[in-house]
Structure formats: structure tokens, C-alpha cells
Amino acid sequence: MATKNKKLSLKDKYQYLTRDMAWEPSYQKKEDIFPYERFEGIKITDWDKWEDPFRLTMDAYWKYQAEKEKKLYAIFDAFAQNNGHQNISDARYVNALKLFLTGVSPLEYGAFQGYAKVGRHFSGAGARVACQMQSIDELRHVQTQLHAMSHYNKHFNGLHDFAHMHDRVWFLSVPKSFFDDARSAGPFEFLTAISFSFEYVLTNLLFVPFMSGAAYNGDMATVTFGFSAQSDEARHMTLGLEVIKFILEQHEDNVPIVQHWIDKWFWRGYRLLSLVSMMMDYMLPNKVMSWKDAWEVYYEQNGGALFKDLERYGIRPPKYQDVANDGKNHISHQLWSTFYQYSHATNFHTWLPSAAEMDWLSEQYPDTFDKYYRPRFEHWQKMQDKGERFYNNTLPQLCQVCQVPTLFTEHGDPTQLSLRTLEHEGERYHFCSDGCCDIFKYEPEKYIQSWLPVHQIYQGNCEGADVETVVSKYYHINIGQDNFDYVGSPDHQRWQAIKGNRPLGGDDDSRDAA
């Protein structure tokens, strides 16, 4: 009797081409094939309980991704061919891209490598498949971000050496150390840190500011990248949710371990996002919303609902979330003040907010801006008007854990810095907060090794004894082009020429960026 060949159903196809490609080993011990599954103390009793967050076979994955790429790159081509960089609101906006390219795109690369690693080391095939696909997604995000921003590199400064700068420049050790911390952890901590905490709980606080910022400021290339990445991000969010549910449901001993990771990674994520807060409030010529509003919606409301759901597992909201919730009124102003005064050592420009922008900030921050932050901007404006634009010529103290300068203030007193210090095995360490100090105390061996940019300069490891030499030789920041104030910079002059406001001095060739 002949059997008719039937087409596989989607469900069967997925089962055969992913889960059923796995096998039970018979001549090697499972613990030897998957050596990283037990050392974190996480107990998995039954990998069959893993519910695949999305069900794509590789051929479907490639097909959908290829379709997206064809559309995306056609738009990148059109953007470049039509000089799309001329349609942005103002060239100040490009500085947000300089921050993104050096601070975020390399993290996508770190994610690509991190997911490739964990995609090998889980014994559950479903988890491996999901992580492997995410790894390819993240590499795709590196590539599409680079392509989105490469056109700007032809016309503006500061974008020319992002990978080198990510590894060396002082403020970029904040994102770099964040991801290095996650990748040097075990696979379950990595997933809790990145899939859950970053790609689910906090993701909108990175994505919305940059992508909406692009939309509001005429950056078609970045907007299109954002739309193109959305379906990838949806998969990542479902993985984050599945991971946390799976681990918590597998064994009650997992709960306190996961709670600790949630506390740690909420805090590290919050500190990392302080860079985004200043971008939203100070670097977008057309504002999307204030950081304060973004935090209220995306963390306090959405995150609040999520942690309510997790209560049934015995999980409580992250430690120090009250400090972060209060911090929404302060951190953007504190961060911009810091970058303003250290702008001689950054690959992007800074500038003082205009009177109209300060009025917007007053409106958005009725309890804090006029009282604590307007006075310093007005003082710096007076200095600038006298030709004495303020630069801080001394290196700052950095937090041993998050590596941000210790610029944050006490919850309850925004005039006093929330400095913390302790001694460990005869050495003294400094922190920006209880949150970071707690992270250190839990695993000091990790953080006594922090590669703190300020200390490395002082050890003589950064090719110079003075800031200017370090900035040009070690950081590859072009002095007088990438750094200092936006006003009067080559970017500013080029923008004025583009808009026909004032011709550039010198020959016409100086209109085209080198």
C-alpha cells in the first residue's frame, strides 16, 4: 500500500528540525558535554518543561530576515543617495548617534558573542535554538546599526573609530564593563541579566529614546533600522519572559539566586541607562519626552505590573528601585553636567541648553530643575559668554562597579553626593551608591579587577601623562574636531553651510567632509 507524502505541519516541522535534532548522549557524560549548567547553583530538573518562546526553523528564519534586509538596505541606499543627513533637525542630533555607535553597537556585538556561547552550553535543545537565533539577530543589529550610521560618518566627526573607542575611552567603560560582567558570568546569570533584565524589563528605556529620537529629528536611516529590528526584539522579549518563568518554576532553590540577579542587573542597567537619560533630555533638538516620563511609563508602570505577576514565584521588585524612581528627577541633569565639563575628552560635542530648552526642562521637572540644575547652567553660560567656557581639568573619581564618575546624589538630598567606601583585603574601594557597593560585596573578586580608565591613565598605561595626549593617541579622538563645544565646531560650521546660513571659510572643497 503506497503512503502519500504529506507536508509537515508547522508544529511538526519545528519539532523535527530543532528539538528532535538533539539526542541523549550514550558514550560521554552529559555533565562533561555541558559543564556550565550546575556551577551557578541553579537546579534544572526537567528541560522538557521549556516552552519555546518562538518557533522558527532556520529556513523560515533566513527567509524572513532576508526579506527585511532587502527592504532595509534599499532604504539605506536611498538615504545616502539623497543626502538624507541634510534633513535632520540640527547637527547637534548627530552627537546622539556618536554616543550610540560607540556605546551601544559594541554591546550588540557583545550580545552576539554571549548568546553564541550560551547557545552551546544549555543542555536543553529548545533553549539552545532560541539563543543561537538571538546570537545571529544581535550580529545583524551590529551590522544594520553600522550601516545606518555610516553615511553620517562621511559628513560629521566623531564616528570614525567606534570599536577602538569602546575599548578605551573613559565613559565607554560604563557600557563595556556592563556587558563584560554579564558575559563573564554563568549562562543562567547571563540570560537573567540580558534576556530578562535588559531585553525585557528595561528595553524600552533604550529603544524608545533612540528610535523615537531619530523619528522626531528626521533621521530616516536610524528610524528604519528601528522598525527593522522590532520583530527581532519581540522574539528577544519572549525569550526573556520564558527564561525567568522556566528557571523559577524548575526548583524553589532557584528563587533566591534569581532574586539576587534581578537586584544586581536592575541596578547595573539603571546606571547604564543614565547615559540615555541625558541623551533624551539634552541631546535631541526635538524632544520626544522627558526621561522622567519615560521612566514612569516604562519602568514604574510596566515594570510594576511585571513584578506584580512575578510575586507568585516569591520574587519581589528589585532592591533600591525607590532610589531609581526618585533618581528620575535628577540623573539626566547630573549626567549632562558631567559630560559638559569633560567634553575635551569625548568623541561627541556638548553644549548648554538654550533658554527655550531650559523652560522645557522646568516644565518637565517642576520639583528639581529650577532649584538644583538651572543655576549651574546659567553660571556656565556666564562663563562661556566671557570666553571662559568651563572644562574640568582634573580627572574624576569613578565608581568601582558601574565605572560612572561618582556624580550621583543621596536619595533625599540632591546637594550631597551619595559616596560610599569600604576596605577589602587591605585595599580601599569607592562607589557611587549602596546599589553598586552591594554588588561589589557579593563578588569582590570580580570588581577588584575593574579596568578603571582614570586609574589606568594614572598608572601610565594609556600612552600619555596628560589628558590631551591620552585623548588623541590612546582614544583616537581628533582634537579640535571631535571634542569640545558644539558651538564653533567643524560640525557646526558644516551644518551652517548645509543650511546656507554662512559659507565656510577657505576653499569650496572644505564643504565635503574628509
Binding site: 547553583g41 573619581q397 567606601t421 574601594y429 578603571l452 594614572y458
Partner: protein, 119 residues
Amino acid sequence: MSVKALYQYSAEPRDLQANFNGMQLVYLYWPNHLLFCSPFAFLASPEMSMGEFCEQVVRPAITAHPQAAGLDFGQAQWLLNNQPFSPAPALSLAQNGVAHKALLTLRAPGLDGIAGGAI
């Protein structure tokens, strides 16, 4: 060891004093002067006198602030790692107990930032 690892894991601190070529780190916090975003991190010789440290290292660092010129280090109230501290200006940092990575906190009477606004 506190880290979870597959083997006995140990690590060396990256910022031991020996790594600083005979010098040391000292931090200085000047409360209520938030024009400067955070404490300063200085590289200084342990043999430098406290007086020289104040005039040759600290004063140039704060000079941009309107209240810096009037600051009399002799009249200041000091903390060393959050404990009350009375430095002897003629003695060295080391002799004064200002060890590697110490935090000095400086308060000068009447100087509370521009217009008393902590900046």
C-alpha cells in the same frame, strides 16, 4: 571565594599602589560645589607635604570656581575617609595617614557654593 566558578578562582586588585610608579591615588570631595560633578582623583607623591598638596594640586583643580580664591586651607574642616582629620601641613601625605586611595573631604567655613546653592 565569593564568585561562582568551576575551579578555585583568585584575582589580584588592579589598582595596588605598586602599580602607580611610586605615586599614589588621593581623592578630594568639596561638598556643596557641584560645579565639579564628582570628587577629584589625583595622582600624588606620598612624600609630598600636605601643604604643598593643597596649594600645588588642589588649588589649581578648583580655580575655576568663584569661591576657590578665598579658600584658606588652614581654616578648613577636613575628613579623612569620613573621619575627622587635622592634617599637619608640613608633614607628608604618608605621615599624615593619607594612604593610597584615601578620600579627603574639604569644608571651608562660609563656603557653601555659589549663592549658597551647593554648586
